[in-house]
């Protein structure tokens, strides 16, 4: 008899949970894996959406902890926008599986992989293995750092929002067109600022900048990491110092979540300069939207180039 009572208590608990449903949302609830996707979604969604990012802009997006508090964001989401290309492989699938929201499961209508709209670089052409480090078999996932891709992603998100909220389709399309126009204007300014430095060789810590470098005409000739995701080794560091001296490379780009000890040591031996460049919106307070991210990075970069002339 006692056992039936226990089971009845569990059943009652579950029954109570059944009727504790979420309140009806007026705006589309959009959750994004990174702040960059949130910034682009906000540009086109305006006040018709409520958008929240899971990872912070100063966090390494490869290694985000799948904290239960994120489940609360995901359980009421109408749309989940992911960077894709396995960037969030270590944390997003676990959250999506546990959140209990059928709308945002892979293949459901509320799951959007933004990589489908972007030009992807560094797609491996031969066999891939982990001997190459933490390689991304589908291509480099840091694609949002090319304003052309930003424009394409914004357009893709606008189309998705229009599909989910047809009443406001014109609003989303209009905002996407406005974003494109403002981006084209900003682009002129950025290209002008970077023009004197086109073709300059730089070194970066991780392979975060292929799209940015190609767009602004930089030549990334080496990496502080011997292979993606593998911490720097003394031998590789010595080789890199030699290469930088030979090629007269003076700029070392470092993401805000990496340790500066090795880059600083390389800079001191090569007469170079370490530039902590932001790969994501929100990496610093000033980089609070997609435009300000490029403003911040380009200002920092041009000032560094001037200093190492």
């Amino acid at each position: 008899m006692k056992s039936y009572r226990t089971y009845a208590i569990i059943a009652a608990l579950m029954g109570a949970m059944l009727f504790a449903g979420p309140a009806e949302a007026k705006q589309l609830n959009v959750v994004t894996s990174t702040t960059d996707m949130a910034a682009l979604a906000q540009e086109v969604g305006g006040d018709k959406i409520k958008v929240e990012a899971i990872a912070r802009g100063y966090q390494d997006p490869h290694f985000v902890e799948a904290k239960p508090s994120f489940l609360l964001k995901l359980r009421n989401a109408d749309l989940l926008i992911a960077v894709g290309l396995d960037l969030e492989l270590g944390w997003l699938p676990a959250l999506v599986t546990q959140c209990g929201n059928g709308k945002i499961q892979p293949a459901a209508s509320g799951y959007l992989d933004a990589s489908q709209f972007a030009e992807i670089l560094e797609k491996p052409t031969g066999p891939v293995s982990r001997a190459q480090g933490d390689v991304h078999p589908l291509g480099n996932p840091h694609y949002w750092l090319d304003p052309d891709n930003g424009r394409r992603i914004a357009k893709g998100i606008a189309a998705k929002l229009a599909q989910m909220d047809p009443e406001n389709a014109a609003y989303f399309q209009q905002r996407a067109a406005d974003f494109e126009q403002r981006l084209a204007q900003a682009e002129k300014r950025w290209q002008q600022q970077m023009a004197p430095y086109r073709g300059r060789k730089v070194v970066s810590y991780h392979k975060s900048w292929p799209n940015f470098a190609r767009h602004f005409g930089l030549d990334v000739v080496g990496y502080v990491e011997p292979r993606p995701g593998i911490p720097p080794s003394p031998q590789h560091t010595m080789e890199l110092i030699g290469q930088m001296k030979r090629d007269n490379v003076k700029i070392i780009l470092v993401e805000p979540y990496f340790d500066l000890k090795t880059p600083n040591s390389i800079a001191s031996k090569t007469g170079g300069k370490v530039v902590v460049l932001l790969p994501s919106v929100g990496g610093e307070q000033q980089a609070s939207d997609y435009f300000k991210l490029f403003d911040y990075d380009i200002q920092l970069l041009t000032s560094a180039f001037q200093q190492v002339k």
Binding site: P93, Q105, R130
Partner: protein, 413 residues
Amino acid sequence: MILLLCTAFAAAQTAAAPPPAPTAEDRIRELEDRIIALEGQVRMLQQQATTSQPAAQPAAPAPAQPLETVAATQPSDAAAQQPQLGGAPSMAKALNPDIAVIGNFVATAGHNPIVESPSLAVPETEVSFQAVVDPYARADVYLSFGEEGVDLEEGYLTFTALPRNFVAKVGKMREYFGKVNTMHTHVLPWVDRPLITENLLGGEEGLSDAGFSISRGFAGPKGIYLEATGQMYRGDAGDVWSQSGKRDVSALAHFRGYGDITESTNLDIGFSYGRGHNDLGSDFLTQLYGVDATLRWKPLRRAIYHSFLARSEFVWSDRQQFPARQRAFGFFTSADYQLARRWWMGGRFDWSDRARAAALTDKGGSFVLTYWPSEFAQIRGQYRYTNYAEGRNANELLMQVLFAIGAHGAHPF
């Protein structure tokens, strides 16, 4: 008036003028965008095929891409030239689940008069298969290959699209009692499991059984995440619960509260209750009560270099048996600090009565040092001291090498 008319005429002319013709640059950009969009669609379709998504569903990404299946989706010239016999094998490859193997090698030195361990052993090699089954569920199967045979460590279906944010699981699972019981060996920060697992929670493997589970998360006050889970199992789990008849099922309830204290620090507290029949028959119950607490610190800007985790679990066991009911208690408390990107150190204190003889208490302590050559391998050394209730002591040095190949999905936090 003439001026006004002229202005109106000029405005009308401007409004009627056709939009400017697109420049060659605009056309090239548009074509470029279209090619990139098409490439993206192809990529999505390839991913869709590799993750067993039904063809009728809209394109979507794979949660996990095994390197093997990605390679399998690349068309090869040689394959295109060969006759296609039925086409099923290539599709079957594309629909393979994510497969991973986790090897675990353990070497033991020192003397233990109570629990003897082999000097060199491969106690477990885990093979996992994970895939989305259909738009409503995903499957996770973990086989454990030990030196004495193969065992289904876990094999369950998770229903991910239930109404009202419920998540249900059915199959064989590690029971949701405390924290450590739910964790696979390769995610533990130690070579071994705490004494409470051995003494109160079913022995080396812990509580694991066939059954079903249903859980739901709630938003609590001040952003606290609350989660309630109810589980029912066949009633065969280690030496804790045993089924004598079909009605001797075991039941388990878990309540969890999680809160972010700051963006770097969080606290996770759980309460567990389990109830089932023991090996003495249907009239004899064993009830378990548990409290677990975990404090984590991980600075977001330096998350890959430094972190700290402190954990404690307290377990009370109430076992009906002859000649007298046994009420046993045990706990462990541990702390682990990440010193650098590849180095961790930690310690654990154990104290536990034995479930069948609560007057007997074992105590112990461990010091652990772990080195990660990469995300996919780790080398660990552990010094373990145990003071057994019989009055005998054990001093042991354990060494473990873990490695992972393939695509292993992330474990729950």
